[in-house]
């Protein structure tokens, strides 16, 4: 389990702190929403979902 926790941490770290400025976050706004916010909340939600599956049962 410790391995999975570490792997999930590394995934989350990579998702949360990439060099955001290098990605084209300013160009297309799906449904009129800013892509940067969309990305961060989706990545966050994904990490939480994975944490839920990892830790839900003892």
């Amino acid at each position: 389990m410790k391995e999975r926790a570490l792997a999930l941490f590394l995934l989350a770290l990579a998702l949360f702190t990439p060099p955001l400025g290098l990605f084209p976050f300013g160009e297309r706004w799906p449904w009129g929403l800013p892509p940067l916010y969309l990305y961060l909340f989706l990545a966050w939600g994904l990490v939480i979902l994975l944490a839920y599956f990892l830790y839900r049962k003892p």
């Binding site: 570490l6 800013p34 909340f41 990490v47």
Partner: protein
């Protein structure tokens, strides 16, 4: 809105907190100690600074506010390494703060009190910020006038009262406070619901602000990623910084470690708490954008109140205010409690011990809660709108992050030394003060503004080494943590690990007496029960953890000095801590090895049993066979004599002689078998002081007639040896061996007796043909006869000798030479022999 009405609502809300806490201590206890309450109590992380400040930050600086909530998500994912381990340690050593851990890890040094003092100084402004949020929100809602005076002061007193009532009822702060936890979890719900409701209603009323923001050149940059390397560094630093703050803030340690009822609750918290943070951040950006679009003149920190007041209903604004109050009060209560424990256990208790006034510690802890609250209030009144207050949230975070190197290195690196940790921490706080705290004072006008220029272009406080373009917090964070870490590692590498303090041991009664004197008779009784059956050093460790939780580790250790003594072989708690990780894996390996070993031994024992069983069967078959041969002969001879009564005298004589000989052989066989079964039945040894020389002479005398009959010369060379042994058995061995020798000898048999070290050595030699090569290995096995004898003599001799603790063997050389040894004293009884 009428000031009186708002005030009434505020105090009603505070009163409801007391009720919730009371309920949590009574009937709601199970709920208060549930996994959900635990997960929501962690949300004490989200303060008024989240509730009002996030929107303000999003409205002015863009998305940076999100980083503050991504960090805790990251850290909580690592709970199997961090919080799980901490909980284990806290359970054994009753930790109440990180300072306790540092004392435990690095031993008595100025580090723990320094940390305690520094945290108080570093977090006071953060507390002040919460009081300011309440006062500011109240003033805004009541129309900017303050007819009933400053609402922050009575609120602060009420909160202090709450913390005292529900947090310091007992001296031992490591006890659980279910009322406090339930109140904090309740406040977490209030602030989440209030914030979501405000966001939802504002969006419902005003619609989606993003399309407008996309068109607006002033707002569009707020929604784009940070620019360039400095922007990226700021983002990453903020994620890291907030994660570290989540780990090291005293209030977070208190709710996540001290108040944890069950380590398994972390499983739920690991995803539920991040989910909470995600939800509470959803409305931030829309609120910030609407604020910028519709209220360009307003203070961005008040958008959360101003938007509902201006575009929805006053009731919603009131709800928003209560949400902010709930965020502020939860933080103030837990933080002031955690700080008061730090103050009383690490700063006050050693002083009180010196003044012999330890009994008043609980009172002092309550006073320090009041004092912390009062100082925070004063700071807020003095600083007001100054930069030193507004920017203090993150500056406090950086202060708390200075705990990272000593704590994490202490937790995961065996080589970290007290000197390294202390020097690193000192370096870190000096750089923190120089790059963040003093510049904040200078910006507030309390220091000359020239301070910001620094004495030299390379020493500019907000741009060390001439760095340009980094924001002050990122710069201060990276510089202070870098210096701290580098010094901690560097000094640790070049200092000795220091002598590991000797473990201590003591008498249970004395320890229980001490615990009872200091912590009261009830605790003393509980200690007596808990310590029952522990060894001296374990009981000392237990007493130390109990005393340390209530009085602080330094005082606990001083008190224990009188009731204990050094025990070099008892491992000290530090050593135990250091060895823990290594031990865990060692234990698992050793356990596996032991299992493997036990399995091997069992299968060996089974094989041996099988072989023994088979040997028994073989012996039984051999015995029957051996008995049958002479019996058949006896029967045949008797039948011949009976059937032929007129047999010649000579013939009859020959038959009766044969009959007698076979009967004698039968009787010898039966005697041998009897001796064998006696041996197996475990007849006890009768040890007597024996003159072995006389015994050997007796044996020689007994075989003399047989030797004479066979014409064999008996020779002997006997030294006088005394031994404590079983006389009859030795005689039996000698007779067996002499008979064997006489059977094979041509003309001479020689018996020797010499002392050899702690043993007596007998040697019986004959000049016969010797033992054939192929029979040498079997010569001591039962019924292996090569000369028509019973085949039991040598076998019995071996069993007897081994039963007496000696050895017997066949020597190389001409003829047959048997030797055996006997210990001069039989050490322990082993009547069954060597098998």
């Amino acid at each position: 809105m009428s000031a009186l009405g708002v005030l009434l609502i505020l105090f009603l809300y505070l009163a409801s907190l007391f009720l919730v806490a009371l309920w949590g201590e009574g009937r709601g206890r199970a709920l208060a100690q549930s996994a959900h309450a635990y997960a929501f109590s962690l949300a004490v992380y989200a303060t008024a600074w989240t509730f009002f400040g996030s929107v303000g930050r999003a409205a002015t600086e863009g998305m940076g506010f999100l980083a503050i909530y991504l960090g805790p998500t990251l850290i909580l994912l690592l709970w199997p390494f961090l919080h799980g381990r901490l909980l284990q340690l806290a359970r054994t050593h009753r930790l109440t703060s990180w300072a306790d851990f540092l004392f435990l890890r690095y031993g008595p040094s100025p580090l723990a009190p320094l940390v305690a003092g520094f945290l108080v100084v570093g977090l006071l402004p953060y507390l002040a910020l919460q009081l300011k949020a309440i006062a500011q929100g109240f003033l805004y809602l009541s129309g900017g006038k303050a007819p009933i005076g400053d609402v922050a002061l009575p609120t602060a007193f009420l909160l202090a009262l709450f913390a005292i009532l529900f947090g310091t009822r007992h001296l031992d702060p490591s006890e659980k406070h279910p009322g406090l936890v339930l109140a904090v979890a309740f406040e977490s719900w209030v602030k989440l619901l209030a914030f979501l409701l405000v966001g939802g209603v504002v969006l419902w009323q005003l619609g989606n602000p993003f399309p407008q923001a996309q068109e607006d050149p002033r707002l569009r940059p707020l929604l784009l990623p940070p620019e360039g390397l400095s922007g990226h560094l700021a983002w990453v630093s903020l994620v890291l910084l907030s994660g570290l703050a989540f780990l090291f803030l005293p209030r977070q340690f208190h709710v996540s470690v001290v108040e944890n009822a069950n380590p398994h609750h972390l499983r739920l918290a690991a995803w539920l708490f991040p989910l909470y943070l995600l939800f509470i951040n959803l409305p931030v950006a829309p609120l910030a954008l609407w604020g910028r679009l519709l209220l360009p003149q307003e203070n961005p920190d008040l958008y959360v109140l101003a938007l509902p007041l201006g575009f929805a209903s006053p009731g919603l604004a009131l709800l928003a205010f209560l949400g902010g109050v709930s965020a502020a009060t939860a933080m103030v209560i837990v933080e002031s409690l955690a700080l008061s424990i730090l103050i009383s256990n690490h700063l006050l208790s050693p002083l009180l011990l010196r003044r012999k006034a330890l009994g008043s510690l609980l009172v002092w802890r309550r006073i320090s809660i009041l004092l912390v609250m009062l100082l925070a209030y004063l700071y807020f009144r003095l600083a007001g709108e100054a930069y030193a207050l507004v920017a203090m949230g993150l500056i406090s975070f950086v202060a708390v992050a200075q705990l990272t190197p000593p704590s994490l290195l202490g937790l995961f690196w065996k080589g970290a030394t007290p000197q390294g940790a202390l020097v690193g921490f000192l370096g870190g706080i000096l750089v923190w003060a120089y790059t963040l705290f003093l510049p904040a004072l200078a910006r507030s006008g309390w220091l000359p503004h020239g301070f910001l220029e620094g004495p030299h272009p390379l020493l500019r406080p907000e741009g060390l080494l001439g760095i340009q373009g980094l924001d002050p917090v990122t710069h201060g964070f990276l510089a202070s943590l870098g210096v701290n870490l580098a010094l901690a590692v560097g000094v640790s590498l070049f200092t000795q690990k220091g002598h590991i303090p000797v473990g201590r041991t003591g008498e249970l009664a004395e320890l229980a007496g001490l615990v009872e004197r200091v912590l009261g008779p009830e605790v003393g009784k509980a200690f007596r029960e808990e310590a029952l059956g522990l060894t001296g050093s374990q009981a000392v460790a237990l007493a130390e953890s109990w005393l340390s939780a209530s009085l602080g580790p330094a005082t606990a250790r001083l008190l224990l000095l009188s009731a204990t003594r050094e025990a070099p072989d008892a491992s000290s708690p530090f050593e135990a801590l250091l060895e823990e990780a290594a031990r865990e894996s060692r234990e698992v390996r050793a356990y596996a090895r032991a299992l493997e070993e036990a399995k091997r031994e069992l299968s060996e024992a089974y094989e041996r049993l099988k072989a023994l069983d088979q040997a028994k069967d073989e012996i039984l078959a051999a015995v029957s066979h051996e008995l049958k041969t002479p019996l058949t002969a006896v029967r045949a001879l008797a039948e011949i004599l009976e059937a032929n009564p007129d047999l010649e005298e000579g013939e009859r004589h020959r038959f009766t002689a044969l009959l007698a000989k076979e009967a004698a052989r039968l009787s010898r066989l039966v005697e041998g078998i009897l001796a064998y079964t006696r041996l197996h039945a475990g007849m006890p040894l009768t040890l007597t002081p024996t003159d072995l020389k006389a015994l050997a002479q007796e044996a020689l005398a007994l075989v003399e007639p047989l030797a004479r009959e066979k014409g064999i010369t008996m020779e002997s060379q006997l030294a006088g040896v005394q031994a404590l042994t079983d006389r009859d058995r030795v005689l039996q061995v000698l007779l067996n061996l002499l008979h064997n020798a006489l059977r094979h000898a041509r003309s001479r048999v020689r018996l020797e007796l010499n002392p050899r070290g702690p043993e007596a050595l007998f040697r019986i030699r004959d000049d016969g043909p010797g033992v054939p090569q192929e029979a040498k290995a079997l010569v001591f096995e039962p019924f292996q006869s090569f000369s028509g004898s019973t085949g039991l003599g040598l076998f019995l001799a071996r069993r007897l000798v081994e039963g007496l603790g000696g050895r017997i063997w066949l020597e190389e050389g001409e003829g047959a030479s048997f030797a055996f040894t006997l210990p001069l004293e039989v050490a322990h009884e082993n009547p069954g022999g060597g098998r």
